[in-house]
């Protein structure tokens, strides 16, 4: 009955993600509006709830322009690459607890994939091809600049992203996302965030960069690049880029919750041994609630931190994130090797941050502040 499960999961994931994306746009607009003391969409339907539907209809009905000088084949393929890869990445992400009895619904399209995390990162990093090809094939300077930045970005954030996840892999002893959750579903103080706070920080920042969200939305910064890589895109093709971005946000949020915040586990109401009626539904809801929280946090972050310059982003990732994540991984290895208490990782991560900052300050003693800031890769 495996293929039926897979088919059901595909329908649920596709339908769920598409609907979620639609409403994420509404939520994002509402959140942005509230933060900026505005009201946000409130005309179409109650509380503007049908705004996304109206937007969708508009996207379908708009004229689909392909610039005369564009590379037509790549121009058409680029958005589909973006959507396809981000959707594919979601196939291994479990959106619920594992089946309580053998043969139950697995809550993932490809459940129990042993290279789960690796697969996600391998596939999602392909999504950047969509961005690069889209920008390049548009034959527009702004688009090309956008995709250029995207390439600069991808060589920066991919490494700390992968390195930060290795610590989690060591903790769980597996890259299987279900195993990672099972390792945390022991209790509230077994969630990986307690042992890998630094890894979370790096993973989250890199995840923002990967999904092109502020403060790392360099490929599409409107103020500098008109629209960035999707300047020339209109109608459904633009909608596909949009969809890809939001799917990316959803995937990143799911992974954050699964790897650092205990997945579907929550003390008392969603323990692995809780078998009351509807326990599975509660677990799914717990997971979705956590994901919703992370997504909202991403949206709030958008209006909190100003956009990085792309040399700042590269300096931050190469000079700060990569050494930090390597040190974090080293600490994790030592703890595992000598069977120390995992709680050592918490002070170790904090010390790592403080020491790195201290060292960078000490190294730039006597250097003019603006130069020093550049060296440190921080905002001047």
């Amino acid at each position: 009955m495996n293929w039926i499960h897979a088919a059901v999961a595909i329908v649920v994931v596709l339908g769920g993600v598409l609907t979620l994306c639609m409403y994420l746009i509404w939520i994002e607009r509402k959140v942005s509006a509230r933060i900026q003391d505005r009201i946000g969409p409130n005309r179409v339907g109650p509380f503007g709830l049908l705004q996304s539907v109206a937007d969708g209809i508009k996207f379908v009905l708009k004229e689909d322009v392909i610039p005369a000088t564009a590379d037509k084949a790549l121009f058409v393929i680029a958005p589909t690459i973006s959507v396809f890869t981000t959707m594919l990445a979601f196939s291994v992400v479990p959106f619920g607890p594992p089946p309580s009895q053998p043969g139950g619904f697995p809550f993932a399209i490809a459940a129990n994939l042993d290279i789960g995390i690796l697969f996600v990162f391998a596939v999602t990093s392909l999504a950047v091809y969509g961005v690069i090809l889209g920008g390049w094939s548009s034959n527009n300077k702004y688009s090309a600049l956008g995709s250029l930045r995207s390439s600069a970005q991808v060589v920066s954030y991919e490494i700390p992203l992968g390195l930060s996840v290795l610590g989690v892999g060591l903790l769980a002893g597996s890259f299987n996302l279900e195993t990672v959750i099972a390792g945390q579903a022991v209790g509230f103080f077994h969630w990986n965030i307690w042992f890998q706070p630094l890894a979370w920080l790096i993973f989250f920042a890199s995840g923002l960069a990967e999904s092109n969200r502020l403060p790392f939305d360099l490929p599409e910064c409107e103020q500098e690049l008109v629209g960035g890589y999707h300047t020339e895109y209109s109608a459904l093709k633009f909608a596909m880029f949009f969809l890809a971005e939001y799917t990316h946000v959803i995937t990143t949020s799911f992974l954050t919750v699964i790897m650092f915040f205990g997945g579907w586990h929550f003390p008392w109401i969603a323990e692995p041994e809780s078998v009351y009626t509807g326990a599975t539904v509660v677990k799914v809801l717990v997971l979705l609630a956590k994901v919703g929280g992370i997504i909202t946090f991403i949206m709030v972050i958008r209006w909190t931190i100003p956009r990085f310059r792309f040399d700042q982003l590269m300096a931050l990732t190469w000079k700060v994130f990569i050494p930090l994540s390597l040190a974090n991984l080293l600490g994790m290895m030592i703890v595992k090797q000598y069977d120390l208490s995992l709680w050592w990782m918490l002070p170790f991560s904090a010390a790592l941050v403080v020491v790195t900052t201290g060292v960078s300050l000490w190294m730039t003693r006597g250097v003019p502040e603006n130069v020093a800031a550049q060296w440190r890769g921080r905002l001047t």
Partner: protein, 217 residues
Amino acid sequence: MPIKPEDVTWVKEPQYGLLDAMYLPAIAEGLRTTVQHLFKPDTITQQYPEEKPDLPLNYRGVHRLNRDDQGRVKCVACFLCATACPARCIEIVGDKAPWPDRDKYPTKFVIDELKCIYCGMCEEACPVDAIELTSIYDLVGYSRQEMLFDREKLLSVYDLTVNSGKDPIRTHSTPLGPASQIATTLFPAGGSASVADPVGPLGPPSQPELPHHERTP
């Protein structure tokens, strides 16, 4: 004039400390602000079609032609507004007034509301306070022709706005406003053929209720 040294306050650049270099406290501080606004926004947006704006009394919207006490058009076709108009949007054709209290009256008085820049110069120029700008701001029409407001239309704007509370008549001094008063005082011996007695049937001139401009006679 050079700035005196004691007037200059030298501000020292803040020291870049460990916490600043760590960058995280600053993010937390920023998050505090955004989350605060997320849960308690100070929204001041006006939901326009449902909520109307509260306009000030001197708002300059669509024009009106005032009526005098007997419901006749107050305008004496002196062309001062048309002369003052920087947009040249007022077209007046005057004729001999059928009433004994004034020389002329407008047979045609057309304002092109599309040409008008709503500066209020006509209102200032008018010696008899016949033309005034109202608080009507949502002026729409299907054609350019429709936006040429003639005498009757402008008088109907008066009827529409006179009791709205937002557009009071700004002067009631005499049947024809202060300028006609000047004429009768300067040329008492029949300089103004219409009003021989400045007191007239309506009694002595009263002070304007809402003086809006300082006029030099």
